[in-house]
């Protein structure tokens, strides 16, 4: 079990958090406050596309070299995108922490987004979209979000569409990168059996000299729909239903508002484990899954 939590803020605003444990395996991640929500309509899916492209080559590494850098020593590197965050993270033997931190720095700062890889990755994501369309129990979450927040980026799905994926050329990635991923909205997180001073020194070496950068795109508060009832014919054998409505803002720290409605299988009581501003109530009898999305104007 971990105990001490150490934190540090670098000159450029990047924050570091460190938790010590006794494990031989360590974990490191770069989490940035940029996601689908930052996209303009013509950029639908770009934050997720960007996450994929981080693995498609840097100034000094091919895609194969990126993946094999940690695999060669038994570790792995991965990433995910949500509506409001992107994370690049790695798991590895503790002695390889510098290798992992340098790799994540390289893909975050020095990706080249080669054109042929863009086309290939667009195909990969298109397959992902089509696969998703065949899964109504998952698709209903996306449709519910569109229903709740129409005409707002937070209501759009993460993957994008066939039409939008075709538009990610002519500098779209570079523009999105330049206008988002602010240094004061980046957190480096480490859990492992390496002293804080070592992690701080390595983080300083790889991330401390990144020029300070602030957010250029201000987040806009969405307006939630209310009282709508929509039935869609999906020609499925089962019926899927969902109730969705606006909940409490993340900045509402009253315990009852934070925790009391959290029931069923999706326990997300830990602040930050899942933070969102609205709730979804999945209609399964005796099993209610409730999600809370971050405040629409939480930190900005």
């Amino acid at each position: 079990m971990t105990s001490t939590v150490n934190t540090y803020r670098f000159k450029n605003g990047i924050r570091l958090i460190h938790r010590a444990n006794q494990s031989e395996v360590a974990h490191f991640g770069l989490i940035v406050h940029t996601g689908t929500r930052e996209e303009f309509p013509e950029e639908h899916g770009l934050a997720h596309f960007m996450e994929h492209m981080f693995f498609k080559g840097t100034r000094k590494r091919s895609p194969y070299q990126i993946i094999s850098r940690l695999e060669d020593v038994g570790g792995d590197v991965n990433a995910y995108t949500t509506k409001e965050e992107t994370a690049l993270h790695a798991s590895f033997l503790k002695q390889d922490y510098k290798r992992a931190m340098e790799l994540i720095q390289d893909i975050f700062l020095h990706s080249t987004f080669p054109e042929k890889e863009r086309e290939r990755e667009a195909e990969v994501i298109l397959n992902e979209i089509q696969s998703y369309d065949d899964s109504p129990s998952e698709l209903i979450f996306d449709r519910a979000e569109e229903l709740l927040f129409p005409n707002h980026s937070i209501g759009r799905n993460i993957l994008g569409s066939e039409e939008s994926l075709e538009k990610f050329r002519n500098g779209a990635l570079e523009k999105f990168l330049a206008e988002n991923y602010a240094t004061d909205e980046i957190v480096l997180s480490f859990v492992g059996n390496i002293p804080f001073k070592n992690i701080k020194a390595a983080a300083d070496r790889y991330f401390g000299e990144i020029p300070q950068k602030s957010r250029l795109r201000k987040r806009v508060k969405p307006v939630a729909a209310a009282g709508m009832k929509i039935t869609e014919n999906r020609e499925t054998h089962q019926t899927h239903c969902m109730l969705v409505g606006e909940g409490y803002e993340l900045t509402d720290h009253r315990p009852a508002q934070q925790y009391s409605w959290r029931t069923g299988d999706e326990l997300q009581a830990e602040p930050g484990a899942e933070g969102e501003t609205w709730i979804l109530l999945q209609c399964r009898i005796a099993l209610c899954s409730l999600y809370r999305y971050r405040s629409p104007d939480d930190l900005f």
Partner: protein, 93 residues
């Protein structure tokens, strides 16, 4: 759907018995403690907590917060959030 609305109606009108509420609190703390043994998850959750709140709550803090919650508060929250007039309904069939 009617069964679901009936359950929501109960949440909005009746108080959860103390024993059931205490059980739910213990279950939540237990699941959180177990989740924290997954260090990859802990790394990501801790990072997100700093990103959003600029702080990390200990399990003890969360336990104290949970202990403060009463059945009346839960009923009030259900009345505020689970309102048939504001909830949207989506059905795939």
């Amino acid at each position: 759907m009617q069964v679901t609305w009936d359950e929501i109606s109960k949440l909005r009108t009746k108080l959860i018995p103390d024993a059931r509420l205490n059980f739910a609190k213990k279950q939540m703390i237990g699941q959180l403690a177990i989740a924290r043994e997954n260090y990859e998850h802990l790394m990501l959750a801790t990072g997100k907590s700093i990103l959003i709140f600029d702080r990390v709550d200990s399990l003890e803090t969360i336990r104290r917060n949970l202990d403060e919650i009463t059945a009346t508060q839960i009923r009030d929250v259900a009345n505020e959030v689970l309102d048939i007039k504001t909830l949207n309904q989506l059905i795939f069939e």
